[in-house]
């Protein structure tokens, strides 16, 4: 096999892996959109906030230290202890649940029945708010996430496959972190599907997604379900934040990963969990392959726009996204 062909395959494999990471972010969007019709613009910031909180708790940082110091003229920064990762993750999930409850209690409860665009706008406000609070709480410096996740290319795969091509082929490169992310994403999806299919609350969640009023009439508490959904989205955000944060350190730019999820959503459909996964894979492979094949001819850095163009092409044929619910319009 020629090296070019093998490298093409390598690009596809890496595209799939990148796609899984995109899908991870997109999942959070889908969960909330499906259950409450809210397009949650704050999802990216939630990923940043949860990752910041995780690192902050692990390192024993004092929340709002900068603010406290500025007001009281003190100089406190750390509690002086460190928290083991598992405990910190549990505490962070706790924080995200409290956040979900507050969002529900103070924001969306007052906006029930408003049009989509208003709810969307409320999440914009939420994004600003959360970004500011995250910065105030934990500071805006880069933080290193030390969860002991494996990093670097997998040598085993590289050595195993290096014989496939000629001298120009160095074996497949697959990042260990990507492998972990893929496994985590698959587990997460299985968990979510199992939760929504086989548990009481999962069924209630699906009922709410189908029809709010019918769900209310059989005694399902909308408030509770929405808190649940926001907590789940917070958890998904944490996972996404950890996976991306492991690569680049935890910092402001994490909130921009939401932009990577938008074409995925568009392609997969806003309402479908499998759609998010499939969409992520198609976008991941598509953009990487385009950059590999066409990028060098047009000067590169095509990934950002190509993902959207690809999704747009799909949409022209299926306006509701690949696996989205069919749009039925009546006059």
């Amino acid at each position: 096999m020629s090296a070019d062909f093998l490298y093409g395959i390598e690009v596809i494999i890496n595209g799939l892996m990148a796609g899984v990471l995109y899908a991870l972010v997109a999942l959070g969007f889908v969960l909330i959109f499906k259950a409450s019709g809210i397009f949650n613009f704050a999802q990216g910031v939630m990923a940043l906030f949860s990752a910041l909180t995780l690192v902050g708790i692990m390192e024993g940082q004092v929340p709002f230290a900068h603010l406290i110091n500025a007001i009281f003229g003190t100089s406190i920064h750390h509690f002086g202890w460190t928290v083991p990762a598992v405990l910190a993750i549990i505490l962070t999930i706790g924080v995200m649940v409290i956040f979900a409850w507050m969002v529900q209690k103070f924001l969306f409860r007052h906006l029930v029945g408003q049009p989509h665009i208003i709810l969307f706008m409320a999440t914009i406000g939420l994004a600003y708010f959360l970004e500011g609070v995250g910065d105030l709480m934990w500071g805006s410096s880069i933080k290193r996430l030390e969860l002991g996740l494996p990093q670097g290319g997998s040598l085993a795969i590289e050595n195993l496959t290096s014989g496939l091509g000629g001298d120009d082929f160095y074996g497949f490169f697959i990042d260990k972190l990507d492998i972990v992310a893929t496994i985590v994403a698959i587990l997460l999806v299985i968990l979510l599907v199992a939760f929504s299919q086989f548990t009481k609350y999962g069924r209630a969640m699906r009922a709410v997604a189908d029809d709010h009023q019918a769900a209310l009439s059989v005694g399902i508490s909308l408030n509770f379900i929405w808190v649940l959904v926001w907590s789940l989205a917070g958890f998904v955000a944490l996972v996404a934040g950890v996976m991306w944060g492991a690569k680049s350190g935890v910092q402001f730019s994490l909130s921009l990963i939401a932009l990577k999820a938008l074409p995925v959503l568009m392609l997969g459909g806003f309402t479908s969990i499998p759609g998010a996964i499939v969409g992520g894979l198609i976008i991941g492979v598509g953009e990487k392959l385009f950059e590999y094949l066409v990028g060098p001819m047009v000067g590169g850095a095509t990934e950002n726009w190509f993902a959207y163009v690809l999704a747009l092409v799909f949409l022209i044929f299926r306006p509701q996204g690949l696996l989205g619910e069919r749009i039925i319009e009546r006059v």
């Binding site: 890496n14 920064h77 805006s140 410096s141 990093q151 160095y170 350190g249 910092q251 402001f252 990487k288």
Partner: protein
């Protein structure tokens, strides 16, 4: 709209009307928020701390207290405009915008207002030509120098010849990242290496394609012009593909502790250019002893902190020079311009200031606002968590750069109908 603007008008006009005090006003356009906060914060800390030290220890410069006016830009040009306009009214002496975009935007504006612009190691490279860019100073070194110094260093590493070698530039897809490309192309023609530029879009969180491409092509060396999260991800990805770290070299904005720390031990051996090397400068002890630091003190002595301190030191030396030339202690912005143009930095003076070796020796002239054009190469030691200087100051190849500067600055002069001074 009407009510709002009126209220805004009433409110802010009440606040802005602070009378200009008889101090030396130095605005600090910092960015402690946004995607580049991690680089902006230490620079601003260093910049402010040094002036604070001067105020406290020497009673200011020439008997005049320095008043820092900090303004948060968030690396956003529009906020930068607001900052520029609001600080200008207070009698700002010199601007240090710390962003290529803002520099380009301020060059004509500050020139029209007669306020010097000191863009230390960034901004518009051809502003080195002081005859055309009368108010802009970019000493001690600029990006084109940087490209040339990097190539010169690599040439030494490859035993004196780059013939047939492959050098790849990984750049931030913005004005800043594109700056070195023409120089590197010219150098490639001169030295016979194969040059390739690979763009990374802002913010640079996702660089898998770029690094797979590098892995396929196996360039002998990779240079990086990055800023913000792009640096950390690039170093991590380089480690992931097992690219030899010692063949990977960043410009001075890609060579701070924060860039290499997130990758942990994997970043060991990564190289970067620098013009403000890490050393135990006596002045750092004085700053620490001073108390009342600008930040939380954790940045003192780091690469970018030192650079901010160097910028403050060069500015204060220029102020002293301007006071000497014009015989007044309360100088104005145009007078400071003269001071900057007459600045000369000697090692003896640096030692006197407690920061020997923080900058190459150079002197500024009317024709040359670019200074020495020298930088060192430093290497990251991940175990000791410290940058180690590998070389002494290396000079750039002026044969290649001078014509480029000349043609670019003359094109600017023609476009804007500027008569060359000097």
């Amino acid at each position: 709209m009407k009510m709002k603007s009126l209220i805004a008008f009433a409110l802010s006009s009440a606040f802005i009307a602070t009378p200009a005090a008889a101090d030396l006003v130095i605005p600090d356009l910092s960015y402690r928020t946004g995607p580049y906060a991690a680089g902006g914060t230490p620079f601003s800390d260093g910049y402010q701390d040094y002036f604070k030290l001067l105020n406290k220890r020497d009673g200011g410069i020439g008997g005049e207290q320095v008043r820092i006016v900090e303004c948060e830009t968030g690396f956003n040009t529009e906020k930068g405009v607001e900052c520029y306009e609001s600080t200008k009214g207070e009698g700002a002496l010199v601007y240090q915008p710390l962003s290529t975009g803002m520099t380009y935007q301020l060059i004509p504006k500050a020139t029209a207002d007669g306020i010097p612009l000191f863009t230390m190691g960034y901004g518009r490279t051809s502003a080195e030509n002081g005859a055309i860019f009368r108010n802009v100073f970019n000493f001690p070194v600029n990006y084109w120098d940087g490209a040339s110094i990097a190539v010169k260093y690599l040439k030494d590493q490859h035993g004196g010849s780059l013939e047939g070698k492959k050098i790849t530039l990984l750049y931030h897809n913005s004005g800043y990242g594109k700056e070195p490309i023409p120089t590197l192309e010219a150098l490639a023609a001169k030295h016979g290496f194969k040059f390739k530029a690979i763009a990374v879009d802002h913010p640079g969180q996702e660089q898998k394609s770029q690094w797979l491409q590098i892995r396929r092509e196996r360039p002998d060396n990779v240079l990086m012009w990055g800023w913000g999260v792009m640096n950390q991800v690039a170093i991590q990805e380089a480690a992931n593909i097992n690219y030899p770290m010692e063949n990977f070299m960043g410009v001075w904005w890609s060579g701070a502790e924060i860039d290499v720390l997130p990758a942990g031990g994997a970043s060991n051996g990564y190289k970067a250019l620098n013009f403000s090397p890490i050393k135990d400068y006596p002045v750092l002890e004085e700053i620490k002893a001073m108390g009342d630091l600008t930040g939380d003190g954790s940045n003192v002595g780091s690469v970018i902190y030192n650079r901010g301190m160097l910028a403050a030191m060069l500015t204060s030396e220029a102020i002293a020079k301007a006071q000497e030339i014009h015989g007044v202690s309360e100088i104005s912005a145009p007078q400071l311009r003269d001071g900057l143009e007459a600045l000369s930095v000697t090692e003896a003076r640096l030692v006197e200031l407690g920061m020997g070796g923080i900058s190459p020796e150079f002197s500024v002239s009317c024709q040359n606002h670019g200074g020495a054009g020298q930088a060192i190469v430093q290497q990251w030691d991940a175990d000791a968590k410290v940058w180690k200087a590998l070389t002494d100051y290396i000079s750039s190849d002026q044969d290649v750069i001078a014509p480029l500067v000349k043609s670019d600055s003359e094109a600017y002069a023609a476009e804007n109908k500027i008569e060359a001074g000097c």
